[in-house]
């Protein structure tokens, strides 16, 4: 009996920090949503409370005065283009590395994987001039290419581990039936790797949608801004214009797609990220 009393105390003693930390995580996010519906006067008068009435004025001015529609569009294009390009480049390589025996496959795999740990900051300076030469600087497709290649090692890593679980006999019997290796790759292996493809694509998309620093370096004109850059711009402006409500509204716009993806694919996302970290 004594033990159970002690246990109850220990339990609640341990629950308390858990509850406090959930508040620390949830409250700022929740508050960001509230702020998006507040007028500036309300934000100053009552920064951490509930708005008196819910108004969409901040979203409207984010949309019209700060051209957030263009930035959202750019972010969507970069995200989709980067994610697709990354898959197109990664699937054949992952298959060859995992299933076709050839000299140097291990070395090539190691090369790709070790690129996950190398700080790319150094590469960004030459990359800047390289993109300028290709006329891809200040171009969302140029940025999309850079994004795709930056996630290539991670994507190859995840896809090889998924392809490793496909039984070899399926490929062999397809080859017996006279299917070319190209057919095996696109018609047998790729469909069977769907789960892995979905996992990496969700994670790459979140990554590209959120990315800020490469966009800062490789984009310049405001009509090419991605959402992250536009928000950073609004945030810097807000020091002078005090357009905090608009800033919150744009933060909400940036985070809602991530929340939706997370609520649907929570398990995949957390598993994918942990596996990526274990390898790195």
């Amino acid at each position: 009996m004594k033990r159970t009393v002690g246990e109850i105390l220990v339990r609640s003693g341990i629950r308390l920090p858990l509850i406090l930390w959930s508040l620390a995580v949830l409250y700022p996010i929740f508050w960001m949503f509230l702020g998006a519906f507040k007028t500036n006067a309300e934000i100053y008068a009552n920064p951490w409370g509930v708005p008196e009435s819910f108004e969409f004025g901040n979203f409207v001015s984010a949309w019209t005065e700060y051209n957030l529609d263009t930035s959202i569009f750019n972010s969507l294009i970069v995200t989709a283009f980067g994610a697709v390009l990354c898959l197109v480049l990664a699937i054949p390589t992952a298959y060859a590395l995992e299933r076709v025996k050839f000299k140097g496959s291990h070395a090539l795999f190691t090369l790709y994987i070790s690129a996950m740990m190398i700080p790319m900051v150094l590469g960004w300076i030459p990359l800047f001039f390289l993109l300028a030469q290709f006329n891809l600087l200040d171009n969302i497709f140029g940025l999309g290419i850079v994004y795709a290649i930056s996630q290539l090692p991670f994507t190859i890593f995840v896809l090889t581990s998924f392809m490793g679980t496909i039984p070899k006999s399926l490929e062999e019997s397809a080859a017996m039936d006279g299917m070319s290796p190209y057919g095996v790759l696109w018609k047998i292996v790729t469909p069977l790797t769907t789960s892995g493809i979905i996992t990496v694509t969700i994670m790459n998309s979140i990554q590209f949608w959120n990315e800020y620093f490469m966009a800062l370096i490789f984009l310049d004109s405001s009509e090419n801004y991605t959402l992250a850059l536009a928000i950073d711009f609004i945030s810097n402006e807000a020091q002078y214009t005090n357009a905090w409500g608009v800033l919150f509204a744009s933060l909400v716009i940036a985070i809602v797609p991530v929340i939706i993806l997370y609520s649907i694919f929570q398990r995949r996302i957390s598993q994918g990220m942990t596996e990526g970290a274990i390898k790195g």
């Binding site: 480049l89 390589t93 090539l108 700080p119 900051v121 290649i149 950073d232 985070i255 990220m273």
Partner: protein, 297 residues
């Protein structure tokens, strides 16, 4: 498989070559030419590129801001490793060992900041630290500690420590999951044996849990160190831009400033080389320090 050697090589080339060319152009070439750029003085316009040998490296050693940026990076590394590991370990143990019903709820909530954009995290925390509107200062006032309130991000002393909390806030979830994975793999019999030997829960933690999840702890520490050295500048750039008065500049944000706002591309590349060398050396040293016989019971 019935196919000629030639067909096999054509297929391999089809699979590997286009990807590798793209990877070489956009990853390998920039990294290596970054090393080469560091030997030049260059403001970006091609006419003015001038070979200066190791001059940029001499400049690096004589630049008074460089030691500060290195210290700031390692300050973030050390505080993040301790903060994240202690909290992630606590949460991981609490969520796995003590049968808490709502454990999945906590797991889902705690992980979410890991997939938030650094821009969102940074701006959110700029508000939390805002001297007039912010949660921190109003909280301190509410509990009667007015003299503790300060312009957190505007203070040379407090700006850098203030960056630690958002990084921990955003980082814990991933490592909590990593450690939970490790704990889940420990067989129940280890704990039963410990209990029979009369070990308290605390002793079980130190002598069973901790040694058995050492591989996960090691991976977590290495991962925090690598991601901090390679990426801490992003949150710095968003929240303080290196200020006030260089008090929060880390190596990466200083590189950005030198290369992309002051157009010293050669010197920027030199800082990049320093980041590369320091992070590789740090990882090697850490791997040596953290090596430990694998424990099996």
């Amino acid at each position: 498989m019935v196919q000629s050697k030639k067909q096999k090589y054509i297929f391999l080339a089809f699979c590997l070559v286009p990807t590798f060319i793209m990877f070489a152009i956009f990853t390998l070439y920039p990294l290596f030419s970054g090393l080469y750029y560091s030997l030049f003085e260059w403001s970006g316009a091609s006419q003015t590129r001038e070979f200066v040998g190791l001059d940029n490296y001499v400049k690096l050693f004589n630049d008074g801001i460089i030691p500060k940026t290195i210290w700031h990076d390692y300050f973030l590394v050390i505080t993040k490793v301790f903060g994240i590991m202690v909290m992630a370990l606590f949460i991981a143990v609490a969520l796995t060992q003590l049968k808490i019903k709502e454990a999945p709820f906590y797991r889902i909530i705690f992980f979410f900041p890991n997939i938030m954009s650094v821009v969102v995290i940074g701006i959110l925390w700029m508000f939390i630290y805002n001297p007039n509107l912010g949660l921190v200062n109003s909280g301190l006032e509410a509990i009667g500690l007015e003299e503790w309130t300060r312009p957190w991000l505007g203070s040379e002393t407090w700006a850098l420590p203030s960056l630690v909390l958002p990084s921990i806030w955003a980082g814990i979830g991933l490592f909590m999951l990593l450690l939970m994975g490790g704990i889940a793999n420990i067989s129940k019999s280890n704990y039963e044996a410990a209990e029979i030997d009369g070990a308290s829960e605390w002793q079980q933690f130190w002598h069973v849990t901790l040694p058995l999840i050492w591989p996960q702890i090691k991976i977590s520490i290495l991962y925090i160190v690598i991601t901090t050295l390679n990426g801490s500048f992003i949150i710095v750039q968003v929240m303080t831009g290196g200020g006030p008065n260089n008090s929060t500049h880390v190596m990466g944000s200083y590189l950005y400033q030198q290369a992309f706002t002051q157009y010293n591309f050669g010197y920027g590349a030199t800082i990049g080389v320093m980041i590369l060398v320091l992070s590789l050396v740090t990882v090697l040293i850490l791997q040596f320090l953290l090596r430990r016989e694998k424990v099996e019971y």
